[in-house]
Amino acid sequence: MVSGSPDGPPRLQDADGPGHAAAALPRTTSWAAGGHMRADLRDFDEFVRTSSPRLLRTAYLLTQDEAAAEDLLQTALLKLWQSWGRVEGDAFPYARRIVVTTYVSWWRRLWRGEVPTGELLDLGEHHDHDVGSRDLVWSALGRLPLRQRAVLVLRFFEDLSERETATVLRISTGTVKSQTSKGLAQLRRDASLHPERQEQS
């Protein structure tokens, strides 16, 4: 009954013979076809280590909250891991797509704490004008619809083309154009960027 000793594990008999221990599955996998996923586990860990900083930046620009960004990244990487065995070539675009689509599609349901940016900064004499302006734009970004925000992040942080952005979000390039235009227009209209309007109102 006991097939090993306290000092060593049992010798595994792989279904495909020696050297094919990849028949073993990762703990989370219960279907036969997923056997190759375990073999790539270390690759996945390496990918996480090397790609997380960049993905986290994207997640932060989307969520505008460090904790939420971490949660989003974690959720996205877990999804990636589930399909890791089917990822071919550079996994980064795929991972980025998961981050963005997760955010757009259902992130807000899980992250109830998402709020548009919080306090506006006092643009007093102690503040550098550019820094203050950026804070206001940052606040205004937080008030954009999720998809518009995602389009802007992909276009102007990830430097994706309209076509690439469309692919990531699975929308048409026309929608990317219109969402970009609307997003920028909304930012320009945002009352917080026009203190004089706030005063008038």
Binding site: S3, P9, P26, R27, R38, A39, L61, E66, K79, F157
Partner: protein, 342 residues
């Protein structure tokens, strides 16, 4: 104030620069992923499971260990000297215990037990009474063939579509005895190789329990008492973000249109019951709950995933998703189909 593209580029670069390369933050996320992924389980055949953490809990959740100890047929090599002695719950996943064992890492590296199944609806589940050290994992082998390894809280089942195929590759046969072996191994075994023995110098104070559960009729499963109020189901989809959604209900069969272009199906339950998903009549996934916690799974409608479940489709093809629910006594489930192509 005018805002142009360049302003945004500078803003994004400036705002995100503080996060870039923060090793502590990245390491933190990495650790969380490792812990979470070790706990995830998929009872979904051939479907990409978007790993909501609650899914893991749903599959591996066991009845409280305070239920009467199992009749171990297997004997651990562990010497169970510390009190209280952990036990393997008699009921777990959606079934009843066929066999189980306790592995006390402080005194043993392996433990085994036997089980004799009479159906293919099996789930092997392991849990830890104390977390394993970061550099240690537990490997589960069935009949000498490695099935899985990872941290505490794993579960493996044959999936909804073809569990016989899954279990047969590990030499499991109905009516015959099979052996499950738990082995403590170094974390992150090298790809494609047999895990190395755990160095004898490694200290492990964790206790791992594992059991094989065979699905039993819903009526025979000892459900926990119902809470006064159920957990909330997900909010209805927002306009423009979904193709369709099914509201809550009890025992119904309903059909929804979908397309094989990356639509995503999301299932949530908050009470005991079963939800089966069929695509063009073929079972692709099933979510079984036997308690009142939130359980969920997500499945992507992609060509590869569906073909893996035996559904021959083409990209963009229209399909019918059928939702069958059973055993719900109250509105406690929801299914949504999400689309990103609009």
């Amino acid at each position: 104030m005018n805002v142009d593209e360049q302003d945004l580029r500078e803003l994004f670069a400036q705002r995100s620069s503080g996060l870039h390369g923060d090793p502590d933050r990245v390491a933190s996320v990495h650790r969380r992923i490792q812990r979470r992924r070790q706990r995830l389980s998929a009872s979904v055949a051939g479907v990409t499971v978007a790993a909501a953490a609650v899914l893991a809990v749903s599959v591996v959740r066991l009845m409280p260990a305070s239920v009467s100890p199992p009749a171990h047929r297997g004997t651990s090599t562990a010497s169970l000297t510390s009190a209280p002695v952990p036990t393997v719950p008699r009921y777990g996943a959606d079934g009843k215990l066929l066999g189980g064992a306790v592995l006390d890492g402080s005194s043993a590296r392996t433990a085994s037990f036997r089980f004799r199944p009479t159906s293919w609806q099996l789930t092997v589940v392991d849990q830890c009474q104390q977390s394993l050290p970061d550099d240690v994992e537990v490997m589960v082998a069935v009949n000498g063939r490695a099935m899985s390894w990872g941290g505490c809280g794993g579960a493996s089942s044959g999936g909804a579509a073809n569990p016989q195929q899954f279990w047969s590759q590990f030499g499991v046969r109905l009516g015959e005895e099979s052996t499950v072996t738990l082995t403590l191994i170094p974390a992150h075994p090298c790809p494609g190789c047999t895990p190395a023995p755990l160095p004898s110098s490694t200290t492990v104070n964790s206790v791992v329990t594992a059991g094989v559960y065979q699905r039993i009729p819903f009526e025979e499963f000892p459900l926990p008492p119902a809470p006064r109020t159920l957990s909330a189901l997900p909010a209805p989809p927002d306009r423009g973000e979904s193709v369709s959604a099914v509201g809550v209900g009890d025992n119904v069969t309903t059909s929804l249109p979908a397309s094989v272009n990356g639509d995503r199906i999301s299932v949530t339950t908050v009470a005991p019951g079963d939800v089966s998903l069929l695509v063009d009549g073929v079972l692709i996934a099933q979510l079984s709950s036997r308690d009142y916690t939130v359980h969920s799974l997500e499945a992507d409608l992609t060509v590869d995933a569906l073909r893996g479940s035996g559904v021959e489709v083409r990209k963009g093809q229209a399909v019918t998703v059928t939702v069958r629910t059973q055993h719900f006594r109250e509105p406690a489930w929801s299914v949504s189909i999400w689309s990103f192509d609009h």
